[in-house]
């Protein structure tokens, strides 16, 4: 027998459901509850959950929830959450977004709760991401950078051998462009693709500036330095990629989608690719292993590569920063770092961990190159990318770099506009 649901019964049921839903967000009585928010990457979610379970087994008074950072604009989400004091206790964040939140007090100094010498095992350039203003505002969990990918069939067709397998033996700029021109003839489309990923990733161009001896700003991180000859030449060299049709115009700073470079490479429209490890899952799905290989990042008067990866930090919304910091130290201990990097195919930043210890299941040879390439990520480039106003500088860089690459303004005009933008940011 059925009975019509009365309005009062419906409202009562709804209220009870709301109360129960509210109860679901509360920790068990007497427990400290922490929320860790991370990108929606399935293997990482599993790894975080497993590490959190191990921590909870050791600390029964702590309950850790692993949440997914919502899609859409990260800054909009985190900014409003921090302003409302409702941000997750722990956040996974890229270095280029990190400095802004350290500067505004959004990331807690966890140095009082870290074991002494905790940072000693970390590469100095990456530890500098979190060591700011006399404090430690997070822990760099893993990194990635750019190396050179090539399709074996294309290089065989043009009769070119890859460069020797050593960081200091990588192709130089002129060697690389010579090969790229041959590759373009072989593919009938483009020479190479670049792992630009939209305007928010404009900073991925900076390694080309730094390997040419240029700099975006002076040591004070305020005074622009891109207008010198090295800066203009780096812009000119990059612009030549597009002017000669070596790189697709859909692969510019603003024009690229997240997977543009890998798609062009995987479909054979580009025979070479400068990209980071995020290309590996797509390549695993779309190309046989023997179809491609890698060498180290191209070089010029110096060597440089991208500062990728993520930092884990405790936010100002956290009511138990001492517990959150302890969990972070646990999460990033050598054993858990190995497990996390194995699960997600990530590159560790702890110096004591090598590729064999992690035991990567897919292309450990390529991951080893990413690992060795880490030493070339310039410390002064990391300093500017993690400076407080870099989010605005990155926009300015993306705007005028894009105009330069598509030929709307000259490299000198682009350098002047970027410099002017940096000056405006600091005024």
């Amino acid at each position: 027998m059925t009975r019509a649901l009365s309005r009062r019964a419906f409202l009562g049921g709804a209220a009870a459901a709301a109360v129960l839903a509210g109860c679901g967000t509360d920790p068990a009585p007497g427990k400290i509850r922490l929320r860790l928010s991370t990108w929606n990457i399935a293997p990482d979610l599993v790894s975080y959950r497993e590490i959190a379970d191990r921590y909870q087994a050791l600390h029964p008074d702590v309950e850790i929830a692993v949440e997914v950072t919502p899609g859409g604009d990260f800054n909009q989400w985190l900014t409003t959450r921090l302003a409302a004091d409702r941000a997750p206790d722990l956040i996974r964040i890229i270095p280029q977004q990190f400095g802004r939140y350290v500067d505004t007090g959004g990331m807690v100094d966890i140095s009082p709760w870290l074991p002494p010498g905790y940072g000693d095992d970390y590469r100095e350039n990456f530890w500098s991401i979190v060591a700011k203003d006399g404090g430690i505002h997070g822990i760099p969990q893993h990194t990635d950078n750019f190396i050179t990918f090539y399709r074996r069939d294309v290089l065989e067709r043009i009769g070119v051998s890859p460069p020797p397998d050593a960081v200091d033996q990588a192709w130089t700029w002129s060697e690389f462009l010579d090969v790229a021109r041959e590759v373009k003839r072989a593919t009938g489309a483009y020479g190479f693709s670049v792992g630009f990923g939209g305007v928010n990733n404009a900073y991925r161009w900076l390694p080309f500036l730094y390997m040419h001896g240029g700099r975006l700003v002076e040591d004070d991180l305020v005074t622009p330095a891109i207008e010198d000859d090295a800066g203009v030449e780096a812009l000119e060299w990059t612009r030549r990629w597009y002017a000669e049709g070596l790189v697709s115009l859909s692969n510019t700073v603003k024009g690229s989608q997240g997977d543009t470079a890998t798609t062009l490479f995987a479909t054979g429209q580009a025979g070479l690719m400068l990209n980071n490890p995020t290309a590996l899952p797509t390549l695993q799905e779309s190309l046989p292993e023997e179809a491609w290989d890698t060498r180290y990042m191209i070089q010029d008067v110096g060597r440089a590569s991208d500062c990728g990866g993520n930092v884990l930090a405790v936010t100002s919304s956290c009511k138990h920063p001492e517990v959150a910091a302890d969990f972070l130290a646990f999460l990033n201990n050598p054993e858990n770092t190995v497990a996390f990097c194995r699960g997600g195919g990530w590159v560790p930043v702890r110096e004591s961990i090598d590729v064999d210890e992690v035991g990567y299941s897919y292309r450990p040879d390529t991951v080893a190159r990413f690992l060795a390439q880490q030493e070339t990520v310039p410390a002064d480039m990391i300093a500017v990318e993690t400076s407080p106003r870099f989010n605005v500088i990155n926009q300015v860089l993306g705007d005028y770099l894009d105009l330069c690459l598509i030929g709307s303004i000259t490299p000198r005009e682009a350098a002047a506009s970027i410099a002017e933008g940096i000056r405006n940011v600091h005024h």
Binding site: Q76, L82, A83, T104, T252, T263, Q269, V392, I406, S408
Partner: protein, 290 residues
């Protein structure tokens, strides 16, 4: 007692909606106006700068570029989508096989999320592996730099948005067409009026209120365009597709300049209000003349 209750009753009925409107619309509007006179970062207190943000706007070339792009986009999308929507409505306002299905197909893009539409468009218009260029290549025609040329990218946006918008215009016009009294149409037909004369002299004047509503709504939609630009080109190539809402968004959440972003938002709201008032007056005058 009963008089008091009867006076209170309407207020009780409207109060939930009123509270929501006050909390989520009026309060933020007032807060935005206050913020527009301050220099304020994301956190902490702001400092009063008077009309400084508005003065900055006057000399900000990117603000004017985004205004210009928004105007071009609006002019490109509104009349086109309304004209095609009207044409489709007239064609589908008659008995024909599969009419309901065709109507639904045209309306489908309107109910899809903007980001989904943008991702689909990215695959259609991609210069290297997009469906459209592959089709052109198969036909022996040259590839078009749909999203990579500053001269073509805005046109691509107009095309993409018109595709999503025509279904909406069609449905609204269909509703209006079905409200046209058939006896008037029959009377004109008996008097010897042809199809075009019937449309021009009878149907089009009767569609005027609908056209006014559609015009205002479409202009507001176009001025508020954001998601498709954000996903598809990020405002590029260069600044070719940077529109006003996107500029407000980046000023607020990327640059962290909440005061300046609020000032641009206030100007944007005034533009919208001004346009709506002009349209309203023009329509009222036309109705009086009629």
């Amino acid at each position: 007692m009963s008089t008091t209750r009867s006076r209170l009753a309407p207020w009780l009925f409207v109060s939930p909606g009123l509270v929501l409107l006050i909390v989520f619309s009026f309060v933020p509007i007032v807060a935005a106006v206050v913020l527009s006179f301050q220099q304020v970062a994301v956190f902490g207190q702001g400092t009063w700068v008077g009309g400084g943000n508005y003065a900055q706007m006057a000399g900000d070339p990117l603000f004017w570029t985004s205004i210009g792009n928004t105007a071009v986009f609006t002019i490109g999308t509104v009349p086109t989508s309304m004209a095609i929507g009207l044409l489709l409505a007239v064609l589908l306002n008659r008995a024909m096989p599969g009419r309901a299905l065709i109507r639904a197909l045209f309306f489908l893009p309107m109910v899809a999320a903007g980001v989904v539409v943008a991702v689909i468009m990215a695959w259609i218009f991609n210069g290297d592996y997009g469906v459209l260029n592959n089709l052109l290549a198969a036909l022996g025609l040259p590839r078009v730099p749909w999203l990579t040329s500053p001269d073509v990218a805005m046109l691509t946006f107009v095309l993409a948005v018109v595709w999503t918008r025509i279904g909406f215009c069609m449905v609204i016009y269909l509703g209006a067409l079905q409200a046209v009294p058939p006896e008037l149409v029959e009377a004109m037909t008996v008097d010897g009026a042809g199809r075009w004369t019937r449309f021009r002299r009878l149907i089009w004047p009767l569609l005027r209120p609908t056209t006014f509503v559609l015009l205002v709504v479409n202009v507001v939609f176009s001025l508020q365009v954001f998601d498709i630009v954000y996903v598809l080109t990020g405002g590029g190539p260069g600044f070719a597709t940077t529109v006003l809402i996107q500029y407000i968004f980046r000023t607020a959440f990327t640059n962290g300049e909440m005061g300046y972003a609020s000032a641009i938002g206030v100007v944007f709201a005034l533009i919208l209000l001004g346009f709506t008032a002009l349209q309203w007056r023009a329509n009222r005058r036309a109705e009086e003349v009629a």
